[in-house]
Symmetry: C2
Subunit: 465 residues, 2 copies
């Protein structure tokens, strides 16, 4: 054991036994050096270790303090400071490996593009192409096509979220929206909070910007663990949270309204920004569209990111962010990166959305996804061994499967790829010291011979392991 | 005078009088402290001041040395270290101000979109829209559509630059290509070299990435000042140069082949990377397309960025970078930002380029731009006072005008905007302590009553000033 670890363990004892009380100040680094006889480096390392465990927290220039609730050490341990983020090369290899046309894309993040095919949109695009006017409107500079922003704003208003076109910035897809938002709100070294299991794009964005990432675990029942959230925001100086609360990728849950309401209260109380990744917002199976956190936002602390990628096609690269007061900053960043978004597609979307074709398309899409997801779920439920848990939620097109803890899903990913079938291994979605024992299945492809064979191969291999 | 300045002046004297010879080592900081009696901070500041003036240079761990050619102090002074970059808000205000449809866009950076209108491309887009297949190919992940990369690679090959599709990465326009390249090659704090007068996007990219910018002045005859370049690369630890050598924006010059050849030699000798911004490469008026620096690149040190924005329309947002060995790194960055480029437009471009429609379109475009630029030039030459210099070069669609030194072109910009005419003020393109006394005029709009009136108003106001 290093000296610093030794010191950390003994200090932890003082905390866990209640000798040191919540919010009590720890001895300063210098005092601790004198008391312990250890070097400054050793003391610093020990304090940082305790901080990483959530037992103490630091205030700039004031020193270290005992955390609010250090006795719930189990919980504290779940709130993890992820020192070094390095997911990108894994994601890169993964995305490269599943691109082959001959691969059955059960690992794809994108919905089956055949389901997204909208004849009306293509007709609109075709008509556009005949009109010279579409050329004369080029390019559309940030914040993007006014009419399109108006139509998007209307959709927020219809959910009871007052929105002006000036709140909306059109982006090159949803990932661009996330990145621009995070960049506008943070500086390298800032603390952000992510869900433990989350779309890898969020990890990449954090890596890209040099942010410190705190994670909180999913709540097994509610999706979002409010206690862990509270713990995290009282322990670390978190500036921004980036969360998926509707049709969460990869798990699939949608957080209940009561929890969202409580979350909004906490955000307001601690004055923490939230970037809500809501790209699956339209893919609900029930009657009512889930509310976005923006609904509860009284203090303009929330940026809401979405796109047309999951409903009309990721190839269009059109997304947006409800940027509110960050609109100008985000436009600045666009002028330094992509400049603007394809104006041709924006024009076509204006026509398409204003004729309400989108609503009809979404209705059909939801129905088909519901049917397919149920088919896959029933099939897997019947065939997979009982030691696997299939997480089914009524939205989206992902099934998240928990395998027995000893099974490394990366092995499954490798094995299946050799059979020309892709699946998404858990390692893409979380950092962990344990074996990544989850897989994500894309259920948006018809359950025909090919896909059924693919599923069977997967099931056989899991049984074998 | 501060102590450090005082010390700098006296040391400078030793250099200028030749007491200290080129490449001679200066006393170490510690020795200088002992000799001078000044504090370490004072000595450091003095040395840094001399370094900023190009009189001395530092080598890591070895100390400071007299520059190669300190006697050419005049030249040394021209190589400027730009400590703080802050151009973005100016550009933002500028771009916002010229967006109004009622404004005569002589200040626009984009060519008249009516000239870019290509019926064949629109026909192709229209046909695309009829085919479901275009949906099924979505999205096209980095490095972008293979067929499109193949066609772009062919264009390089036709100029004698051996290129594989795998060298090319499709980007969301030329600015995205520049940014991704610069990001792949640098880290915050690195030194990059820019031309003193350059497209503001380059400054923004540098600002965005926290780079230290060294500038060299334009050569009045050759465009690129090789002596200043040599000075800069021997004085500063420059990692990457970002240069425009063909149809330079805003000035318009194209650097001669002999100079490019010499520049390539220097890059190789000093192992410095070059990002070549070549978005105007197709807009030459003479018979022969100017060579890109890539032609001279034996060591794979050069990234070449271009796009379809200046020839088919900036609204399409399709550019590319000849990324060579940086291809994978750049794709990583794309996966963290825009993910991919509109696949619909990429598909259409494949069809369009493979039928050689592009060549015909470019031929007509060049002819029209040549005619218009000559018209504007002749008109301004006749009407502008002799105290103004109009820089005419046979390519592109910009005229760069040098006004008498006392005239602040920002005033002209403001005044003209009130008359619903935009012009691009010099301040967008360079940092200077002098009055920015240049303007850039976009000559791609027909010289009709409106544009002629606009020019007349401009001429009258300049005469008045």
């Amino acid at each position: 054991m290093y000296k610093s670890e030794q010191l950390a363990v003994s200090l932890k004892h003082l905390i866990e036994t209640g000798t040191w009380k919540p919010h009590e100040k720890l001895p300063s680094l210098r005092q601790q050096v004198e008391i312990s006889g250890f070097s400054l480096i050793t003391v610093m390392n020990a304090y940082q270790e305790l901080e990483a465990q959530g037992l103490i927290y630091s205030k700039e220039k004031l020193g270290y303090f005992i955390a609010e609730n250090p006795i719930q050490a189990a919980l504290a341990k779940k709130v993890i400071l992820n020192e070094k983020i390095e997911i990108n090369s894994l994601v890169f290899r993964y995305l490269k490996s599943i691109q082959s046309e001959s691969t059955i894309p059960l690992g794809s993040a994108f919905p089956n593009s055949q389901l997204l095919y909208s004849p009306k949109l293509m007709q609109t695009l075709g008509l556009q192409a005949k009109h010279r006017i579409s050329y004369e409107q080029m390019p559309s500079l940030p914040p993007g096509n006014y009419e399109l922003r108006k139509l998007i704003a209307q959709r927020y208003c219809m959910q009871g979220i007052p929105t002006d076109p000036s709140d909306i910035v059109i982006t090159s897809g949803g990932l661009d929206a996330l990145n621009l938002s995070l960049k506008a709100m943070t500086q390298a070294g800032d603390y952000i909070l992510l869900q433990e299991t989350i779309f890898y794009g969020a990890w990449q964005a954090a890596e890209n910007l040099g942010l410190k990432v705190i994670t909180i675990p999913e709540h097994p029942e509610y999706g979002l663990d409010l206690e862990a959230f509270k713990k995290a925001v009282t322990t670390y100086p978190i500036k921004v949270c980036l969360l998926m609360l509707n049709s969460h990728n990869p798990i699939g849950f949608t957080v209940k309204e009561e929890i969202k309401f409580e979350l909004a209260k906490l955000l307001h109380q601690h004055e923490i920004y939230l970037i809500e990744d809501d790209v699956y917002e339209e893919l609900y199976f029930d009657q009512k569209k889930p509310l976005s956190m923006k609904y509860y936002d009284q203090k303009n602390l929330i940026l809401h990111c979405s796109s047309f990628s999951k409903t009309l096609g990721a190839g269009f690269r059109v997304g947006w962010v409800y940027a509110g007061k960050f609109s100008e900053h985000i436009q600045h960043l666009q002028l330094m990166s992509t400049l603007s978004v394809n104006s041709f597609i924006q024009n076509a979307l204006v026509d398409y959305l204003s004729h309400r074709h989108y609503e009809k398309h979404l209705k059909t899409l939801r129905k088909t996804l519901k049917r397919l997801k149920n088919l896959y779920y029933q099939y897997l439920l019947k065939e997979l061994p009982d030691t696997c848990t299939i997480h089914y939620y009524p939205s989206g097109y992902f099934l998240w499967i928990t395998l027995p803890e000893h099974i490394d899903s990366s092995l499954i990913y490798q094995h299946m790829l050799e059979q020309n079938v892709s699946i998404a291994p858990g390692a893409l979605f979380y950092r962990t010291n344990k074996t990544p024992h989850h897989i994500r299945i894309n259920c948006s492809f018809e359950l025909n011979n090919d896909t059924q064979n693919a599923l069977n191969q997967l099931i056989q291999y899991i049984k074998k392991l």
